[in-house]
Point group: C2
DNA sequence: GTGTGAGTTGAAGTGCGCTTCAACTCAAGG
DNA sequence: CCTTGAGTTGAAGCGCACTTCAACTCACAC
């Protein structure tokens, strides 16, 4: 057993396509040494980075934000369990927040199923504070404009 | 008060940009009549369709799937409250599912914060059933490959 | 040594959900 | 009438997260 991984091995272990791993490298999310023949060799610790990246994506974090988070890991040494725990805790907060938002949406939607309305005038999903009512008779969508990637199919 | 809306009015009421409304029309998500001068005039019932579209997006449904759902509404008459309630109930199920998945991820992540591991070999987030262990010493990512739009920043 | 599967690169392509642009027409108030 | 803001179109562009491609090189088993 060697202590570095080829891109194919890392791909097989992490479930991430080689093309994606190269892409992550370009973005500065992972790093690799090179052999004399210019092939990538990944330290085993990169496995953990890739794991973190995929988990963070599940939570809804963009690769750019993930990079920022990873940059906060110590560069001088291999990150310890405590280092990873710190980052994971931060994502946990995001997860909680995200779950809370979806739960609220679900509860509001339940109310709407009851009345069958989905009405911009009356529905609790919209304009709960009526803070734009001054502009006219109608209400406005109060849901945040979703970023294009704001949603997750199951 | 007129009983049809210009694109600007619908945009203001729904919080959706005119360009997006035109895009939705191209995809068959909304429809509009035309004036003699070829301008769009939306029936008030289109407001509800737009509301539904935005809510469904929050839940994580692609525009294509939303179109399929909207196509199940009766074409011959203006949809009733009961029609909308049926669709909303379907999305509610998806929301529940989605919340469940995120909660599982959160709980697993909590375990990992405890051990600080995020390890592909040991972490409960990975390969919980070890069903790929036969291929070698390592485990594989068991998280579903996220679709590119699988996530939602808060 | 050699064949073969694995790896390399930069550039271009993909899919989604829009936005922007240019060039043009419409509608309504003064 | 005329001005002006709102609306029209098709085509192109954008941002993200990748994938695909072509043309090439490497590493390892035989």
């Amino acid at each position: 057993m060697h202590d570095s991984l080829t891109i194919g091995e890392l791909s097989a272990r992490s479930g991430v396509a080689p093309s994606a791993l190269r892409y992550y490298e370009r973005l500065g999310l992972v790093r690799a040494d090179r052999t004399g023949g210019n092939q990538r060799r990944y330290a085993r610790s990169e496995l953990r980075r890739v794991a973190f990246i995929r988990i963070a994506q599940q939570v809804g974090v963009s690769l750019d934000e993930i990079r920022t988070a990873l940059d906060s890991l110590p560069a001088s040494r291999t990150p310890t369990a405590a280092d990873w725990a710190r980052l994971s805790a931060a994502w946990r907060t995001r997860l909680d927040e995200r779950i809370r938002l979806l739960a609220k949406l679900r509860d509001d939607l339940s109310g709407c199923i009851g009345c069958g309305c989905l009405s911009l005038q009356r529905c609790t999903l919209y304009n709960p504070k009526d803070n734009l009512a001054a502009e006219g008779a109608g209400a406005r969508l109060m849901l945040p404009r979703p970023a294009a990637d704001d949603v997750t199919p199951s």
